[in-house]
Assembly symmetry: C2
Homo-oligomer: 264 residues x 2
């Protein structure tokens, strides 16, 4: 009984962004667990069982996959992007800590992948070119007050901000409120990049400003990068513009603090 | 004259973490530009020229690679990790904006890779499991005051913090000062993970606490993840412990703000 569990990141969607470790782990597994849309991206293999579940079933999925591995199987949990960024690796760890002691004996590995913000950044230039934050706008697992405090801290600190889980049918208003919050700290001209289904056939990328950004442009497949006040756009005749955040930081040390209106 | 330039992320070091897009771009290039240690990781190919340069030569390297592409060649700039995270993509954008108009006509692509913090996080569990920041401790391109302000913002906001460029021979004291700064906001028991040469044969990973963390354990090949106050460690008999940051945030909204002593 030496079960194994691999939490595998399959990246943003394009199979050409998958690495060899991930491919091997997917090919070697006796059983795959995952959100239905992610499992659909993994080629079928004879003799490999598939256990699809709906979004938001992370805890139950992690528990079922761990129990399966504890029976001696080689199990892979399939997750989009990188398993460690708002995905399944934390849910698996939570279940190992909360579950029966046998789960601590399992061989658990996490195989990294290209997370959505890196894929989007690469498509437009280098918007994450200086210090940045990644923040989930879902308030299923934390209060909206915590989210607002973090938006304040990130924007007033001069970080570029990647927003994950910006909207869903259950939470249509979060993103609008987040943009309003960020506008307390950042000029309306701050660049905002929407990336939906990045690297997939239905990819949709748009570049706008904080003043013009509309919350209706986001869904569950969208990641958003909000620049810092220093993020720049390069127009290119006949080509898509580039967006980047310069490595050199010229903002005076006190400027973020003095505009910090909403914080503690 | 239709030159092309690809900025290619080769990940943390293990070739099995490279994706197909990166491999193709490296194989197809007429010329490779990069920091010597990264170029050494790319298999040699007949007829492909190599242009190695030292660390800290990012601006000159970007300008030379762009000029080469503008002469009609297919050029790849090789960078460790992900090109968009404290690497070459921003330097290339800076040179496109500052350089001759012809550079804006080039076909420029960025191919994402596994950045160091994701590779390290995967090796220990899920320490980036909730909101997090990535911050470079190098003060070559920004003032130490900006760095301190961002450390304050990130720690008081409850973000997990990944520290890039924590130390070099020219900057031995930065990391100690950063830990002292973070200790204003975070308990001494906060988990800290050092990852050196992650995924490479000489990989060295250690887990300690903010109170015990020593700055002498870091060099230019090290990335450090400082947990939030909620980051947890799971002991496992006969196995390395897991470290993770739970998805559920239980910290009351005001707790970070009230301990914010160092900010603006």
């Amino acid at each position: 009984m030496s079960g194994r569990l691999a939490v595998v990141g399959i990246g943003p969607g394009d199979p050409a962004l998958l690495n060899e470790q991930a491919k091997s782990a997917l090919a070697d597994a006796d059983a795959l667990y995952g959100y239905r849309a992610y499992l659909d991206r993994v080629p079928a293999r004879q003799g490999q069982s598939r256990h699809a579940s709906d979004n938001r079933q992370e805890t139950a999925r992690a528990a079922a996959a761990l129990a399966h591995a504890a029976r001696g199987a080689n199990v892979a949990v399939v997750t989009g992007g990188d398993p460690g960024v708002f995905a399944m690796a934390a849910a698996v760890c939570e279940e190992i800590e909360a579950g029966p002691p046998a789960l601590r004996a399992l061989d658990v590995t996490v195989i990294p992948g290209i997370t959505a913000m890196l894929a989007l950044a690469a498509r437009v230039g280098a918007p994450l070119g200086h210090d940045f934050c990644a923040l989930s706008l879902s308030d299923n697992l934390k209060s909206w007050e915590v989210i607002e405090r973090r938006l304040d801290a990130a924007a007033s600190g001069g970080f570029v901000i990647a927003l994950y889980n910006p909207a869903s049918r259950a939470r249509p208003l979060q993103l609008r409120r987040a943009f309003e919050r960020l506008a307390r700290h950042l000029p309306g001209s701050t660049l905002v990049i929407f990336g939906r289904a990045v690297s997939r056939p239905d990819e949709r990328i748009s570049i706008t400003t904080l003043a013009e950004a509309g919350a209706e442009d986001a869904d569950m497949s969208t990641v958003i990068i909000v620049g810092s006040a220093e993020t720049r756009l390069i127009d290119r005749p006949g080509r898509a513009p580039l967006v980047y955040s310069p490595r050199k930081q010229t903002v005076p040390a006190g400027s973020g603090g003095s505009s910090r209106r909403g914080g503690a």
